[in-house]
């Protein structure tokens, strides 16, 4: 009973904050009030989530919370319900969402301090909406509610990317993100339809082999996976994610790194009973995930915008998760999702701190910031180490688990790609650290100063989790019913060595001495070509071409057809009547004689008819 209340509290407090802020303008236009409401609501959610999770993890086994309300009627019965559902799978994700959201919101108070009050108010209202939607997604009792919230987080993403709406690039990025993910979401909708027709509901717990045949499961899982590709920015629909960096950096940390993009992975986790029935889809996931992991890591190496490096890194890490889930091991993917949320949020927040200091996203404008911003520097290094999978950090445990699962499942090619990607990850993160923190300070970096405590505190909390999050691995394993203790494996050792060499290579390549010698212009001509090829450019060009050449032309063609053929045919009928009338009016000459002729002619005809018929 208390747990029911806690679950409702966790979900509804951000909703109340959002509704209040959206409707009551006087509260919203005051940035501080808006921030306080949102942060307060998210804190409530966090406390409730922690209590709920604590009762379900670490060996405790509280019963599931399952509250459902009829939502849609259909044929005198209930078609769909909404409600809250907390089980050992949902609980940790709730904590992750609420925790990262809270950290980011607190950080935003400092980061957006200089923004006009009413804009900040809007910003926090969007955040409240996001927190509600994301928690609703995590706590969904069925896949339809998950989809509803899935779209709502997409809305929050659209609004937050477009936060700087006066910038044309922000507007375009917001639209791009929405269109691409919305296109992919058609897969989820179709999948739900198939699921409904086959099982009569939107539940993920399908009786195996009974209601759902393998072929149907393959269809459903394949369609769901399409949506995942869009939302979790897998190749080739990753194109929206780098552009999404137009939003404020805390937004990138929360939505486009830690939580929202992971919704796709969470969907797979949630619908795992269905995915387990679809071996083909799982194999596709392994290969596509590993490819994305490697591909995005390569692209990340060549980015000069610190946020873009992190964005492609997110793509890459999501690829790991998808590949892990494809091996049939829910735990490894889900665990990496959790640890990744901590260290990637941390990395984005530190990046935001650096950007805040030099007012530029470009790595060229940074350098030598170590001297000015030691705390941020340390936090950045911690985050980078965790991402690179440095031993005993959170990333080390989760990445190791994934590689092991790939090995066990016998996917050697994806395993190779993943190990290579791990090396590249270590390399590009070292590059970021070296270029931003060390070497000669750029002009902008001269005036840099450390961020305020309100920004540092959330980062410290995340850094602790990025370091210690690995300790949770046993608990995640237990969730799936396996008692897994960490142990050193050959593949883990290899991956760690590859990671070390990546770090080493990065340290050597971007050491302050070399950097001053050759600057950051280290990319030679053939490498430039590679950059262009591997950056999302070709895919981007393809989609843009499809939009301009196919969609807009089709639209113009149909609009023309409608106006100048269909409508013109209707007009033609009017024209024909008018023209015909013009012809017929000439019968009326106005000459009395003509009418007399007509009368006489008529008389003769009538007489003749009388004579002949008589």
């Amino acid at each position: 009973m208390t747990h029911d209340l806690l679950a409702l509290l966790a979900l509804l407090s951000p909703l109340v904050a959002a509704v209040v802020l959206f409707i009551i303008a006087p509260l919203r236009v005051r940035g501080a009030v808006s921030a306080a409401l949102t942060i307060g609501a998210t804190s409530v959610s966090l406390v409730a989530s922690v209590l709920l999770a604590a009762a379900r993890m670490f060996g405790a086994t509280a019963p599931n919370v399952d509250l459902q309300l009829a939502w849609l009627p259909g044929g005198a019965q209930t078609l769909a319900t909404v409600g809250v559902y907390v089980d050992p799978v949902a609980a940790p994700m709730m904590v992750v969402v609420a925790l990262v959201a809270l950290c980011v919101q607190v950080y935003s108070v400092g980061y957006l301090g200089h923004e006009p009050s009413r804009d900040r108010g809007r910003y926090f209202a969007y955040h409240a909406l996001f927190a509600f939607s994301m928690l609703g997604l995590v706590m969904a009792p069925n896949l339809l509610q998950l989809f509803v919230c899935w779209e709502l987080v997409g809305l929050a993403s659209y609004l937050l990317i477009g936060y700087y709406w006066t910038k044309p690039s922000a507007g375009q990025a917001a639209l791009k993100a929405f269109w691409v993910t919305k296109f992919a979401d058609m897969g989820l909708m179709l999948g739900l339809m198939v699921l409904y027709v086959k099982t009569g509901g939107f539940d993920w717990n399908v009786p195996v082999g009974q209601a759902l045949m393998t072929a149907d499961a393959e269809t459903i899982a394949g369609l769901f996976f399409l949506a995942v590709v869009g939302k979790s920015a897998q190749f080739p629909m990753h194109i929206w994610l780098p552009d999404a960096m137009e939003g404020p950096t805390p937004v990138s940390a929360l939505l486009h790194a830690a939580t929202m993009v992971a919704a796709g992975v969470y969907l797979i986790v949630r619908a795992y009973p269905i995915f387990m029935l679809a071996p083909t889809v799982l194999t596709v996931m392994v290969y596509l995930g590993a490819f994305t992991a490697l591909f995005a890591a390569v692209v990340a190496v060549f980015q000069d915008d610190i946020k873009k490096v992190l964005a492609f890194s997110t793509c890459s890490q999501l690829g790991y998760m998808v590949a892990a889930l494809g091996t049939g091991s829910m735990v490894s993917g889900y665990f990496h999702l959790t640890t990744h949320a901590f260290f990637k949020a941390l990395l984005f927040l530190t990046a935001g701190s650096l950007i805040h200091a030099v007012h530029s996203n470009s790595l060229h404008d940074m350098g030598g910031l170590w001297a000015k911003m030691k705390p941020t520097g340390i936090l950045l290094i911690i985050g980078s180490l965790a991402l690179a999978g440095f031993p005993m950090t959170a990333g080390f445990f989760s990445k190791d688990l994934i590689l092991e699962e790939l090995l066990h499942a016998g996917h050697y090619l994806p395993l190779g790609a993943a190990i290579l990607a791990a090396g590249l990850t270590a390399f590009y993160m070292t590059r970021v650290v070296m270029l931003s923190l060390f070497g000669a300070p750029s002009e902008a970096a001269e005036h840099a100063h450390e961020s305020p405590a309100v920004m540092l505190a959330p980062m410290v909390l995340l850094a602790v989790l990025a370091l210690a999050g690995g300790l949770l691995h046993g608990d995640f394993a237990r969730m799936a019913g396996v008692e897994a203790a960490f142990h050193v494996t050959p593949v883990g050792v290899v991956a760690t060595l590859v990671g070390f060499s990546g770090i080493g290579l990065g340290l050597w390549r971007f050491s302050p001495g070399r950097r001053t010698a050759i600057g950051t212009q280290w990319v030679s001509a053939p490498m430039r070509l590679l950059t262009w090829l591997t950056a999302s450019k070709p895919v981007d060009v393809f989609f843009a071409g499809f939009y301009r050449q196919a969609m807009l032309r089709a639209a113009a063609g149909i609009a023309w057809f409608d106006r100048y053929i269909i409508d013109a045919l209707i007009n033609l009928s009017g024209w024909a009547v008018l023209r015909g009338a013009e012809r017929f009016r000439e019968l009326q000459t106005g000459q009395p004689t003509d009418y007399v002729y007509a009368v006489v002619g008529g008389l003769i005809v009538l007489t003749a008819m009388g004579v002949f018929t008589a």
Binding site: E151, Y158, T166, P168, G171, W179, A554, N571
Partner: protein
Amino acid sequence: MMHELTATLRPILATLPLLHIVVAAPFVGAMLLLFINDSRPTTVRVIGVVASAISMVASFAIAIAYDMAAGGVQMTSELALVPSLGINLSLGVDGWGVSLLILTGLIMFAGAWASWTVKTRGREFYLMLLVLVTGVFGVFVSLDLFVFFLFYEIAVLPMYLLIGIWGSSNKVADAGPFKFIWKLLDIGGKEYAAMKLTLMLLIGSALIVAAMAAMYIEAGSTSFDLRHLEKTRFSLGLQLWAFPALWVGFGTLAGIWPFHTWSPDGHASAPTAVSMLHAGVLMKLGAFGVMRIGMVLLPEGAREWAWLVGGVAAINILYGAFAAMAQKDLKYIIAYSSVSHMGVVMLGAATMTVNGWNGAVYQMFAHGLMTGLFFALVGLIYEQAHSRWIPDFGGFAKKQPYIAAFFTLGCLSSLGLPGLAGFVAEWLVFLGAWQSPHAWWAIIGLLGAWITAIYVLRATRRIFWGPAPDEKWTDIRDPRGTEWVALWMLGLALVLFGAVPSLILDFIDVTTVETLPRVANAALEVLR
């Protein structure tokens, strides 16, 4: 608790002639206006608003008084009009009727407020508007086919004057193989738009009359009562031609392809409140007619032609969406999006599944609210900017943050974002389509929703986002005073009915469950 409350209120409300009130209030208001001097515009407006408010409250009361557990047609009353022909003024309401009465009440009330700023001939404008809405209410509560048609025509005809007198003209460039037409017709002008709309709808009416007469005669020439006609098994021969006649006849008003072309020009030329009512409510009369008269009375015919109805609806969805994407005039975008969204209604109707029908009627409701909101917003923008040409716009959100917000809300409902009314409707329709024998309809529908996302959000960005607006847009501002009413009302309704769809969907489901088996069982008979 809600149920207990309604249960206690029901007997009290049952003593009131609610259906008569809902129909008569606007008509009495219109008659009162005849006696008001034109020089007192405020009195005119107050009468308009009060009359629509009475209807709106009455429509809510009807919803409370309607007993969902009992279902069927309720609150019936009868008054003989022409006994020798069996024509009676018999009124009654079913679940579909309840939901559409509420929609009409809401839109008309919002429209009455949105017309506050009509400058010329305000009295005649309100008069026409009230007469029109009398017809709309009448259609939704008529149980007599003849009276149904009578009210239908009352609703359609004032449109000619409303557009012809208070409308605005557009320029349409001459081109294409039929360029010569431009020499003779003022294409895009308001008189042209009014004329085209009226003529096309009247041709549709002629088809309706033909089908109606044939049904009346085959049912024994004794009664036009829908309940009587429902009991009649019409011969297959009659059904096979009468259903398409009704489909095209009513469908013209619902904007079915290729008889939709009155709609973009008509809506673009019409003044704000007229566009709101026309796209918001009147187009639903067409769809309601196809379902309530065509499909329910002629189930076998409907079954036989379902493939065509649904196929054309699928064309509507994609074609309307693409055509909207290419428009640069704001009102044309909304008008073409209506063509696309009405396709969703017809698609749902053609699926002949519970979810499809629920979705179809709910889409009428949701689209009515959404398009009403859209046209109210476009009216506000046009009043201030004196332009609807999107390429000239940009950065308006700086000066019109609330208009931008409400516009975005409308867009989101239009593209079927969950949490707003549009999603529920579209989802049910597509689910129904997937359950029907023509699963590909659902895919078309989904694609249509995606294309909608492209063009509505693109329009939003062009109009509202971007750097601060040009010098020439110094006059634009957020709404004030009476202009707020329509926006808040319809905006909140979109959210409310999207979050708690069962408020309306429960009513719809009652009638769907009762009438669908007629059509579903009919199929078997045809096959035998």
